[in-house]
């Protein structure tokens, strides 16, 4: 969904040619299975001893694979893309929280949080030694200022979440009716260490980082207070000389190209070991060559690398491939209703073309996703079996079957539901005997994606369904989403898209009754009920909440209105001179855990 994923056709051509031009094609040998056929570790366990002089004197070189310059907004409140987050990540991204492996907020980070269910307050207390990289203290006002920036009527930030309205006074401030946010108070003053959020409800989701109620970073209020909020994103305080709370401080940023870092002596946590870090944007056309010729120690862990890159790099002797399941999934959506702009709710339309559950299930069983992901994913992409990705180890339903290839079952489902071939036609007609043409919406992407789409069409044709591309071809990303986001549309019946998730996976904003991102408009009482269960009063109990997530996954798979497509690894190559590399969610000291075992790349 990120616009950066939009591959321009010129770029796509470039990418394929570059790979063909200089690749030594070794055949991949991945075995099949419902899970990832390649098992990547999320940490590189380098047992060699740290080389002190290397760690002090040489530079850790990091690559950010991307085809265009990064935008250069260091402030997570204002930035809108992962490249900026990546190149500024040694700063610690000003995160408030320390989290465990389930992204649950635990004590010991920049701040601790306490949820008071009775009083409906959240108290955020900064640690006493919290400092900005210019030496000034992190204050309670710094906790509150992100809300002001996000909700300011003149802001350029896109981060305002509807759930912020549960903070008292937030809506009034957002509408410009109040000068301050009344629901955020400072018991020991703005310069103190504590901020209290007063809400009209508290929910279990608030225990997890990445939830949409509580913002998870701080802003250096004293440092940026004189910059008008509308101009913050273009100010030098954000672009050229930003300050941070994390293990590294920014030495220099070359706009769109690179950032360089050195240890922040004011950091409260684990002391940074490597003295110099540089992060460079590297075109994804030659990232493989760059790694093969040992130009970089690793690629930024959060960036997306593709299956073709994996195929190129996996056999390198001096690099270890490290990864974990991505916070995202590809899915198939079916258009089963519309969005009522008056009531601001999604409405399911019983007479819509795709309203029949059997038809949707049959279409999913007809797809050979195992083979497709194996062929194009090179082992790092695999068929998804549910709508919660496996990175959420607790909530992910490993036992879900999803939709493995089963043409026989697909045919039977269709025939039983009355979708039959009539009058000698090659295609099935609908139960009323009317001609049935289903339109498939897909975004223009790489040549591999184009081949995948062709395979989907072929499979659907196999079960006698006349499925065609909307408009006869794949759609440019902007037209794809502007079509889908219309309140009512009949151009796309089934579509392939993807969601990136935050680290709190409640799907209300994606599949809730009033969610505008519920682009297929699937709504049912049971679905609303199941989604609400994830955050009702009982869900403060972990096992209840886990059960609620699993029930919802099971229900969604049965309904097949939104069906899982594929999961993939978020991975990258790591040079064997790097020690302490661990991208697991519970490693809160990623950058300061790193050290080097030799002064040049292995």
């Amino acid at each position: 969904m990120d616009k950066k994923k939009l591959a321009l056709s010129a770029m796509a051509v470039l990418a394929t040619v570059s790979l063909a031009a200089c690749s030594s094609n070794k055949s991949s040998s991945s075995s099949s299975g419902t899970n990832a056929s390649v098992k990547l570790a999320s940490a590189y366990n380098n047992t060699k001893p740290t080389d002190k002089s290397a760690t002090n004197n040489s530079t850790l070189k990091v690559a950010e694979p991307n085809d265009s310059p990064f935008q250069g907004i260091s402030d997570p409140v204002l930035s809108t893309n992962s490249e900026d987050a990546d190149v500024f990540s040694p700063s610690g991204s000003d995160s408030l929280w320390k989290v465990d492996k389930n992204y649950k907020i635990i004590d010991g980070g920049l701040a601790n949080q306490k949820i008071n269910r009775k009083a409906k307050t959240v108290t955020i207390t900064l640690r006493s030694d919290a400092k900005w990289s210019n030496g000034s203290k992190v204050t309670a006002k710094d906790i509150e200022y992100p809300y002001e920036v996000i909700a300011n009527p003149k802001t350029t930030s896109q981060q305002y979440s509807a759930d912020f309205n549960h903070i008292k006074g937030m809506a009034a401030y957002h509408a410009g009716k109040a000068k301050t946010i009344s629901g955020i108070t400072f018991p020991d003053g703005e310069k103190g260490r504590t901020a209290v959020l007063h809400l009209d409800k508290v929910t279990p989701a608030m225990q997890y980082s990445g939830n949409s109620f509580i913002w998870s970073t701080v802003e250096p209020y004293e440092y940026i207070k004189n910059v008008p909020i509308a101009k913050l994103a273009s100010s030098s305080q954000v672009r050229k000389n930003p300050i941070f709370t994390g293990p590294y401080k920014l030495d220099k940023v070359v706009e769109g190209e690179s950032t360089t870092w050195s240890p922040n002596k004011y950091y409260y946590g684990k002391k940074a070991q490597i003295k110099h870090i540089s992060i460079n944007v590297v075109s994804s056309n030659n990232i493989d060559k760059a790694i093969q010729s040992k130009k970089y120690d690793f690629t930024v862990p959060a960036s997306v690398m593709h299956g073709t890159d994996y195929k190129q790099l996996k056999n390198l002797k001096n690099y270890k491939m490290i990864g974990q399941p991505a916070l995202s999934y590809d899915y198939f959506g079916f258009n089963v209703g519309h969005y009522d702009t008056k009531t601001q709710k999604n409405v399911m339309d019983k007479n819509s073309k795709m309203a029949n559950k059997s038809l949707r299930q049959a279409m999913m069983y007809a797809l050979n996703l195992d083979a497709v992901t194996k062929k194009f994913g090179n082992g790092i992409t695999w068929r998804a079996n549910t709508l919660i990705p496996p990175i959420f180890t607790k909530y992910y339903d490993a036992s879900a079957k999803g939709f493995p290839l089963n043409i026989k079952k697909a045919n039977k489902l269709l025939t039983d539901a009355g979708y039959k071939k009539r009058n000698g036609s090659k295609w099935r007609s609908d139960p009323n005997g009317k001609k049935l043409t289903i339109y498939f919406g897909a975004m223009t992407g790489t040549s591999a994606q184009a081949a995948e789409y062709q395979d989907y069409l072929q499979q659907w044709h196999k079960i006698g369904l006349n499925v065609q591309f909307t408009g006869g071809k794949t759609m440019e990303m902007n037209s794809f989403y502007s079509t889908l986001q219309q309140p009512k549309q009949s151009k796309i019946d089934v579509y392939a898209a993807a969601w990136g998730l935050s680290s709190e996976p409640t799907p209300t904003q994606l599949y809730g009754e009033d969610a505008t991102y519920n682009m297929g408009h699937f709504v049912s009482k049971k679905n609303t009920q199941l989604i609400n269960n994830m955050n009702n009063d009982k869900a403060w109990n972990e096992s209840y909440r886990t059960k609620a997530f699993k029930e919802w996954q099971e229900y969604m798979n049965d309904q097949a209105a939104v069906a899982p497509g594929s999961f993939s690894y978020n991975w990258g190559p790591v040079n064997k001179r790097v020690k302490g590399f661990d991208v697991g969610p519970d490693n809160n000291e990623f950058w300061s855990s790193l050290s080097l075992t030799s002064s040049s790349l292995e």
Binding site: M1, L6, L8, S18, Q158, G210, S212, N280, N286, L510
Partner: protein
């Protein structure tokens, strides 16, 4: 002469106005807006509407156009939606990068191509001519991005002679090392661009030289006993430059176009990528600003070409 130039500039004004309206309309006619597709599940769609509203994107086009023109006369091209900074600052940063690279490439291209063209023409049909023609055809028919990818692979990665990303090293400080580092970064893309961009100039020049060789004034010069070297240097070369001069104006103003391929492969932040990205992001302010700049540059380019032509060839001076 001056009158002509002034008249041409006056005619450019309505042309630019029409161009700007067209660009403005076409940009808005594309499906989507700066915020489509940037859907972050946690962000409120209402906020997107709010942003559309405060940016005036729901206003009728003529109102938007009017605001834009008013701001334009205040030297304000608006803010980029994607980069969240003033368009003027964004473009000037990229334009500087592109200009250095393009200027360097152009100088090298002429430095390679002019001698090759004259030499090939002078030795028409002989071995050097064949070699040069073969070279230009080969370079012409290989897609440029293949050359770039091969070039960066061989000289950047395998031999490690040249930097492979960006326009400047992150460790450069002080003006001398800054300029040095910048130059080092444009060296490889510049040389590749020049080596593989010679075909037009060489072919034009070659055929002009061949024509000129048999023309009357050359024969006269020869019969006067002017040494062959001088004939080529003073008579043939100058006359053969005419067709090249004809597109010199465009080449100069085209310096700012940038190259998507070079910029992608070398991760070099320039105008070409900025333009393409701004279109795919529907970054209206950047699109309109860039198209307007390119439009004006093209108009100036034709004017410049005419002026250069009239300097080189007094016979076609325009009155």
């Amino acid at each position: 002469m001056w009158k002509t130039i002034l008249r041409r500039i006056l005619i450019m004004i309505p042309e630019v106005i029409i161009l700007s309206i067209l660009v403005f309309l076409l940009a808005k006619a594309m499906p989507g807006d700066p915020f489509t597709g940037s859907i972050n599940p946690k962000a409120d769609p209402q906020q997107i509407h709010h942003l559309m509203k405060i940016n005036g994107l729901y206003d009728p086009w003529y109102q938007q156009y009017w605001h834009w023109v008013v701001h334009l006369f205040h030297g304000n091209l608006g803010n980029s939606y994607q980069y969240q900074e003033p368009v003027t600052r964004l473009i000037s940063g990229r334009a500087a990068n592109t200009l250095w690279l393009a200027l360097f490439t152009m100088i090298l291209t002429y430095a390679f191509a002019l001698p090759m063209g004259v030499y090939a023409g002078r030795h028409e049909g002989k071995l050097p001519d064949t070699i040069i023609r073969f070279y230009t055809y080969v370079t012409y028919c290989i897609p440029f991005f293949v050359i770039l990818v091969l070039g960066i692979w061989i000289f950047g990665y395998v031999f490690g002679w040249f930097p492979t990303t960006g326009s400047i090293s992150s460790s450069a400080s002080g003006w001398l090392s800054t300029i040095g580092s910048r130059f080092y970064h444009i060296l490889l893309p510049g040389i590749l661009g020049a080596l593989f961009g010679t075909v037009n100039i060489v072919q034009y020049l070659r055929s002009e030289v061949i024509d000129a060789k048999s023309s009357d004034y050359v024969r006269t010069a020869r019969s006067k006993g002017v040494p062959s070297k001088d004939i080529y240097r003073h008579h043939i070369f100058r006359n053969s430059l005419l067709p090249i001069a004809a597109f010199a104006g465009y080449s100069i103003t085209g310096l700012l176009n940038g190259s998507i391929f070079t910029e992608t492969v070398f991760s070099y932040p320039g105008m070409g990528l900025l333009f393409v990205n701004s279109i795919s992001y529907r970054d209206y302010t950047v699109i309109t600003a860039l198209v307007l700049i390119y439009g004006i540059l093209n108009l100036l380019g034709t004017l410049l070409s005419d002026i250069i032509l009239s300097i080189v060839d007094p016979r076609i001076r325009i009155e």
